[in-house]
């Protein structure tokens, strides 16, 4: 990597990838195990919380966003924010439209 043409590029080490890989395996095992336990309303919430954690790990480390430019980070954050806003507004509409009738 001594050539001058090589740009400043952060190389994530395989150790990080292995750690994230095992974290994802543990997350998968946990979410399968939790689905067999009756937690009432908490079942979907826990499943989604684990899925969001796993997705964040993939985005930050496998997809190198932790080491990306500020522009990329901000854009991804805005995309996620817009996505949640759209889902939130759509659900708010549907849920309040037929209040208590579903």
């Amino acid at each position: 990597m001594s050539e001058t043409q090589e740009h400043a590029h952060h190389i994530v080490s395989p150790k990080v990838y292995v750690v994230i890989f095992f974290a994802l395996l543990v997350g998968t095992a946990t979410t399968v195990w939790a689905s067999y336990v009756d937690l009432g309303i908490w079942n979907p919430i826990i499943a989604l919380a684990i899925a969001c954690t796993k997705a964040t790990l993939v985005v930050l480390f496998f997809m190198h966003v932790k080491y990306a430019t500020k522009l990329t980070k901000l854009t991804i954050f805005c995309g996620g924010f817009l996505f949640l806003t759209l889902i939130g507004m759509t659900l708010a509409d549907y849920i309040t439209r037929a209040w208590g009738q579903w």
Binding site: I11, P14, V18
Partner: protein
């Protein structure tokens, strides 16, 4: 993606070297960029913009699923009991492992390990095919049980759960006809979401095949790794979609 076929590249190189001294910059730096770093940042940024449009696309499907699940909750619970957690879990395992091998492939490209890159890409290719194989076993069972929407759709598993091993094991109670009919909505969304995901896998596997072919010829391990890097982003994105599909379709309605 900036990579063009080898032949046109060499033809372009002849025209290019006539215009100025070849040592002025690496051959893969396009003239409208100031530096390799700027070119890499711009390409990476564009790839993320594409992935965000994909998020919105799948987001529509996820939103539809959430709304219909709230409306037709008992039907969605009974229908989701028809999916196999062991098969879905195994597929999650395959896909997460393929994401790991893909990440290692990017590392091999970064550190210029040609054999390692070919190995990682090949493993990713095989794991992706394995995922589709298991998915096709699941789809086949849906066809056999007539759980494919509008294709001689059968309500038998939901009207007489004792006649269906999966429904019986989950302890399902018989659903009234008007409720049971809504299981077809669940399977419509199931096929739309997993089908769209599988289509992305098929496209990804096709590109992987192309990349293995080129990596064996020494591409990507001479400093220009943009294609491998951005394909990695795509592959991890497809993995993330499955990370959400698996709990939503298979896991959250077991009680």
């Amino acid at each position: 993606m900036p990579d063009s076929p080898v032949i046109s590249q060499s033809a372009a190189a002849v025209a290019h070297s006539a215009s100025h001294d070849e040592s002025a910059h690496p051959p893969y730096l396009r003239h409208h960029f100031e530096s390799v770093e700027q070119q890499a940042d711009a390409t990476n940024f564009a790839m993320w913009l594409f992935l965000l449009t994909e998020v919105m696309f799948f987001g529509g499907l996820f939103t539809a699923y959430l709304i219909y699940r709230n409306w037709y909750y008992p039907a969605f619970v009974a229908a989701s009991h028809q999916l196999s957690i062991p098969l879905g879990g195994l597929n999650t395992l395959l896909l997460i492992t393929s994401s790991f091998t893909m990440a290692m492939g990017v590392w091999c490209a970064e550190t210029r390990r040609k054999n390692g890159l070919v190995l990682c890409l090949s493993l990713t290719f095989i794991l992706g095919l394995g995922f589709l194989g298991i998915k096709s076993i699941e789809y086949r069972e849906k066809f056999e049980k007539h759980h494919v929407p509008s294709y001689h759709y059968s309500l038998n598993s939901f009207l007489n759960p004792d006649s269906d091993p999966a429904a019986k094991a989950a302890g399902d109670k018989p659903l009234p006809l008007d409720v049971a009919r809504h299981t077809e909505v669940y399977f419509s969304l199931y096929f739309a979401m997993t089908g769209m995901h599988a289509l992305h896998m098929i496209i990804g596997i096709a590109i992987l095949g192309f990349m293995i072919f080129r990596a064996r010829a020494g591409a990507y391990t001479s400093g220009h790794i943009t294609f491998v890097e951005n394909f990695g982003l795509y592959w991890h994105f497809v993995d993330i979609i499955w990370i959400f599909l698996f709990p939503l379709l298979y896991l959250i309605s077991r009680h």
